[in-house]
């Protein structure tokens, strides 16, 4: 299930538009094994589909590529791996307390995923959670498992409540991790669901909007070496931008305030 691909086509974008999202991150979950240690390069969405016009709205939908690394060992996260740079967002899913602590305190990632399909293998502690919050790393709770199965619904709610109790509702994002269309919910529905996790009204709204924006900004900062170096993607047919164009591109790449969702593989 982790490595299954989903065909993302125009129907999906219309679906996201119709429910109210303006930014979507297409997620690829990678679980390193002894045979497979590198992320396949063809899984990144082409830049041509990155910006799509929105019917009835002037602002196009924004599509991001995200990589989630399932970590059961500290060697699974390689900070200097070149293939990570192809993805806009980088997330890790730690499976042990030690890896969770390392992800919160040291790993240069954007999102830390919380288990929602099983009982938490460890307890959340305030020190690493607060450390992650200070570094701008967000914790993700996905709700599609809760839609699929009643047992997983209990785990999702219990684990999310434990997280919110520790982090006081800060830096929490709620995403779908949807593998099918029927598992997708609108941003207001996701925010309503967040109330069950113990988030306040404002935190629940932020979990689908401003915190996601912060994650995207964090990713841009991470990729640009703290905002010093800025890179622009160009297709082979386009000429490299002039210094003036690069400046205007930098201005236009300033993230907008929007509702963000992340779908699974």
């Amino acid at each position: 299930m982790w490595s299954r691909k989903v065909k993302v086509n125009s129907y999906f974008w219309c679906l996201f538009l119709s429910v109210g999202f303006s930014t979507v991150a297409v997620n690829y979950v990678f679980e390193p094994t002894t045979k497979k240690k590198q992320v396949s390069h063809h899984l990144v969405l082409r830049s041509g589909t990155a910006v799509l016009s929105r019917v009835g709205r002037s602002r196009p939908i924004r599509v991001l590529n995200r990589l989630t690394i399932v970590m059961s060992d500290s060697s699974h996260y390689r900070p200097t791996a070149a293939e990570y740079r192809r993805f806009d967002l980088l997330a890790v899913y730690p499976t042990t307390e030690k890896l969770f602590h390392a992800a919160c305190m040291t790993y240069d990632v954007d999102i830390i995923c919380i288990s929602v399909t099983e009982k938490l293998p460890f307890f959340f502690k305030r020190a690493p959670v607060n450390g992650a919050i200070e570094r701008g790393v967000a914790f993700e709770v996905s709700y599609s498992a809760a839609i699929r199965d009643a047992t997983m619904r209990r785990y999702t709610i219990a684990n999310a409540i434990a997280l919110v109790d520790t982090c006081k509702g800060k830096n929490v994002i709620v995403s779908s991790a949807a593998e099918k269309r029927l598992e997708l919910r609108g941003p207001h529905d996701a925010a309503n669901l967040s109330l069950l996790f113990g988030l306040s009204d404002a935190d629940a709204k932020e979990a689908v909007s401003s915190t996601c924006r912060s994650v995207v900004l964090h990713a841009e900062r991470r990729k640009s070496a703290g905002g010093i170096i800025h890179t622009t993607k160009t297709s082979p047919e386009e000429t490299p931008p002039t210094p003036d164009d690069r400046t205007s591109t930098a201005n236009h790449k300033h993230p907008v305030w929007n509702k963000t969702d992340m779908i699974g593989p």
């Binding site: 009835g56 002037s58 709610i157 109790d165 069950l196 113990g198 009204d201 404002a202 401003s210 305030w257």
Partner: protein, 353 residues
């Protein structure tokens, strides 16, 4: 530890009962303070067709204009301020913008311009803001409110220049803008209409004749029926939702509030667009005349809905962006010249006056 499941978004409902004979009744003020009206629904029990004067009032709402890609700094144009804002009443609202996502603009008839901005836009604009009331962490929405009647906002004034520079240079906002003017119309809006792509729109009117409609027995005192039940029922009638609660249908379990009667015929008229409070007030007067002359009807109902994405709530006050929902009010008129007014808004909005 457990989530507080009892803490759910609430709604606000303010009910008022008064008479048109009472000099101090606040109906005109309430109608006038609800600046941005999207839809007016009228329910006339025991009525097959509207009389001519009422029909003229329902079809007589004035046109409004949609200006495409209007730079917001043009709302500070001196000609526009002189011909439209300072003379008569101009109503303007950004169109196609989501209030919790996009920058939204509202121009109110009292000469107040409200910009509801996100963090990035606000920081680019470089203008002072009001403190957001609905969350302790003011990171979600920033409201900039200026009054053109203030001395600092007169053309050439310090605040005016600063806002103009901000909107022209730092934050060149461009929105689709719904605008109407009372009583000037196109003439008063010429400074804007002459420069940008615009289209004129008439409010759309839809009429439904309902037969054998179960109606609650409404009386002028507030004890006859629970206001929430009455509003639910009015909404069900307007949305054409069945209130029979039949066992064969699982779509609707709504019922008409008790005690109830059956109206042999009823007329439901909806007018939607960008509606003027002055014309809604005129419609209310026509409904009063109709009720005086009608032999069968003992009450009529009028419901006015606001815009979901309006950046202002009642009387131009700030609204919350945490949850969706618009403001609306329902007016029940009775034969004895009394009325019941129910003012409602969503969770976290400013309480109706």
């Amino acid at each position: 530890m457990c989530a507080d499941l009892e803490r759910i978004p609430r709604t606000l409902l303010v009910s008022e009962r008064s008479s048109f004979q009472n000099q101090k009744n606040q109906l005109s003020a309430h109608v006038g303070q609800h600046h941005f009206n999207y839809k007016v629904s009228v329910l006339l029990p025991e009525c097959g067709s509207a009389p001519p004067l009422l029909d003229a009032a329902l079809n007589g709402f004035s046109s409004f204009y949609l200006i495409r890609n209007l730079p917001v700094y043009m709302l500070l144009d001196q000609d526009f301020l002189q011909t439209a804002v300072h003379q008569g009443s101009v109503y303007g609202l950004s169109f196609g913008c989501r209030v919790d996502e996009d920058p939204c603009v509202a121009l109110m008839p009292n000469g107040r311009l409200v910009l509801s901005l996100d963090k990035d836009s606000f920081e680019l604009l470089g203008f002072e803001r009001k403190k957001y009331r609905f969350t302790k962490r003011a990171t979600s929405r920033y409201v900039v409110s200026v009054n053109f009647s203030d001395s600092s906002m007169t053309p050439g004034g310090r605040g005016y220049q600063r806002l103009l520079t901000g909107l022209k240079t730092h934050l060149p906002l461009v929105v689709d803008f719904l605008v109407s003017h009372h009583p000037g119309g196109t003439t008063a809006l010429q400074p804007l209409l002459s420069r940008y792509d615009w289209s004129e729109h008439r409010p759309s009117v839809s009429t439904r004749c309902l037969a054998n409609l179960p109606c609650p027995l409404l009386t002028s005192d507030l004890q006859s029926c629970d206001p929430h039940s009455v509003l639910d029922w009015l909404g069900a009638v307007d949305a054409d939702v069945s209130c029979e609660n039949s066992s064969s249908s699982f779509l609707s379990t709504m019922v008409c509030p008790e005690p109830k009667t059956t109206a042999s015929s009823a007329l439901n008229v909806s007018v939607s667009g960008f509606l003027n409070p002055h014309e809604i007030h005129h419609l209310i007067q026509e409904l009063r005349s109709y009720l005086d002359q009608s032999q069968l009807a003992s009450w009529v109902a009028l419901t006015v809905h606001g815009f979901t994405d309006s950046p202002v709530s009642w009387a131009g006050d700030e609204r919350s962006v945490l949850w969706s929902g618009n403001t609306f009010y329902s007016l029940l008129l009775f034969k004895d010249d009394t009325y019941q007014l129910h003012l409602a808004t969503g969770a976290h909005h400013t309480c109706p006056p």
